[in-house]
């Protein structure tokens, strides 16, 4: 219990420092916000193009597809602000030997290594997510409280699996220091999350649910918000994130053991 409290305190302190750093560069922040909003607007455009031609695509109407996009922007923000910077930090730490120092701290090493930094200036997609989500909800009936709660839970569960995926990348970096390209690969793979999962068929659909679990984060919560959830949906999400949690924790321990015996 004491260790858990210490871990939380340590993480909070690290995050405070990150935010303070970002606030040092206010003009950069404004510029970043402007570019992010413009880029995100261009990301929505193809959807409008498609729905300019069709009422429905793979069973999804425009407002619901927009909800998927909103969750996609949230995913984007989490990934850019939390997951990616920490992979970079971890690689640095392995290279410079600072990892040894981190492992000496009396807090959970996995959390300390994988969540030590928040790049607050990359959180702008959250603004886009709120804008797009607001517009989408304005176009349909408002979801009921149960739907909202489920959507939040599903999104959380999806984020956990995505975190585990990036943690696996950190584990890989213990062996291969050059993981820049792995970063790009994760980014481009998660890009598929911007469309409703039903447009994908066969193995791709399965991959996007269980291997690169973007559907869990974008389509599943959107499904809940439109009231179209069922037990299978909830069960899949829970099962996939549980598997990711266990698997990544195992991989982390294995890598630490390998790291400890490899370095001198």
């Amino acid at each position: 219990m004491l260790e858990a409290r210490r871990t939380v305190q340590a993480l909070a302190a690290l995050i405070r420092v990150s935010v303070a750093t970002a606030m040092q560069y206010r003009s950069n922040l404004l510029f970043g916000l402007a570019t992010a909003l413009l880029v995100d607007a261009m990301r929505v455009a193809p959807l409008l193009l498609v729905y300019g031609q069709r009422e429905q695509v793979a069973g999804w109407e425009l407002p619901h597809a927009l909800l998927v996009t909103a969750f996609f922007f949230l995913l984007f923000g989490v990934q850019a602000a939390v997951l990616e910077p920490n992979l970079g930090e971890a690689v640095q730490a392995v290279r410079s030997g600072a990892l040894d120092l981190m492992l000496m701290k009396p807090v959970d090493a996995q959390l300390l290594v994988s969540l030590r930094k928040v790049d607050a200036s990359s959180l702008f997609p959250v603004v886009s997510a709120l804008l797009v989500g607001g517009v989408a909800l304005g176009m349909t009936e408002l979801p009921g409280p149960v739907d909202v709660l489920l959507a939040v839970a599903l999104f959380g569960s999806g984020v956990v699996s995505l975190y585990c995926l990036w943690l696996l990348a950190i584990c890989v970096s213990f062996w291969f220091v050059r993981v820049d390209n792995l970063r790009f690969l994760l980014w481009s793979a998660t890009d598929a999350g911007r469309w409703p999962i039903d447009v994908f068929r066969g193995p791709v659909r399965w991959i996007l649910t269980a291997v690169v679990p973007v559907a869990l984060i974008t389509s599943f919560p959107a499904q809940a918000l439109r009231g179209a959830w069922d037990v299978e949906l909830l069960g899949t999400s829970a099962a996939v994130s549980a598997a990711f949690l266990l698997g990544s924790r195992w991989a982390w321990r294995r890598s630490l053991a390998a790291y400890a015996s490899a370095s001198s």
């Binding site: 510029f31 570019t35 261009m42 193009l49 447009v199």
Partner: protein, 264 residues
């Protein structure tokens, strides 16, 4: 002439570099599979009924061609040059009696054969699986395709060179480039065939530089171009190439003067 004499050796060394980074190269190529994600969406759209002459076959052919042309025309000059300017390693390159941009250009071209080695089997497998995808374009279209795809590559290279030169003054060139890249994805035919855009937008799309960077060669390859559109596209590409050269030249010279004034 010195450049021509130097080319074979620059190629040879760059190629050795490509071989040294072959794992990264494969990941890079996998990273640019975005067209396949778009394909899934558009496939779902045209599944019920063809749209603007695009059925499932045509849309698959379109995005397969997009994938190919994208691989043939992509550059990573921006990241390389940014890094050189930031770390000062540009200084060492400036002490050689050849323009660093030429060396980079040769470097990028040298990676081309390897990219093809990875990509062609993928395309061949696709064609073997769905033979109806293969529709060889007319001889004239194939002949025009070569200069068209070269100009598309050159335009992309010049754009990145221009944005990279901004690193002589700014630290946020990547944010600016993201803005450009967003516009490019939307307006070049990367996310959707340009035919899907409203009629009113077509003349504008025709004169902007984006079309010449992707859609023009893709349409030649998929047999959707006519001799008239091909000629106009080539003209527009040439025009923007001239503009690009002028801009890069001006930015480079000024940037170098600044580099020389403030520390190298």
């Amino acid at each position: 002439m010195h450049l021509l004499r130097a080319l074979p050796d620059i190629f040879r060394v760059s190629f050795a570099g490509v071989v040294a980074y072959r794992a990264e190269m494969v990941i890079w190529i996998l990273t640019s599979t975005m067209p396949l994600i778009m394909l899934a969406l558009w496939n779902a759209v045209v599944d019920e009924a063809p749209l603007m002459g695009f059925g499932p076959t045509e849309i698959t052919r379109y995005f397969a061609a997009t994938l190919l042309v994208r691989q043939l025309t992509s550059s990573w000059l921006l990241w390389e040059l940014n890094e050189e300017i930031r770390t000062g390693s540009l200084s060492m390159k400036l002490l050689r009696p050849m323009h660093p941009l030429w060396v980079h250009a040769a470097d990028m071209l040298a990676a081309m054969p390897t990219r093809m080695v990875v990509l062609l089997p993928m395309l061949l497998a696709l064609v073997a699986w769905r033979p109806e995808l293969l529709a060889l374009p007319d001889a004239w279209a194939l002949a025009v395709f070569l200069p068209s795809v070269f100009l598309a590559w050159l335009l992309g290279f010049l754009v990145q060179a221009a944005f990279a030169c901004l690193a002589f003054w700014l630290e946020q060139t990547q944010g600016l480039f993201a803005l450009w890249f967003g516009a490019w994805m939307l307006l070049s035919g990367y996310l959707a065939p340009l035919e899907m855009f409203p009629e009113a937008a077509q003349p504008l799309l025709g004169v902007l530089p984006f079309r010449g960077m992707l859609a023009a060669p893709v349409e030649l390859l998929t047999g959707r171009a006519t001799p008239q559109t091909a000629l106009v596209d080539l003209g527009v590409q040439l025009g923007w190439t001239v503009v690009g050269f002028a801009v890069v030249r001006a930015l480079w010279n000024r940037g170098l003067a600044r580099y020389g004034a403030y520390g190298a």
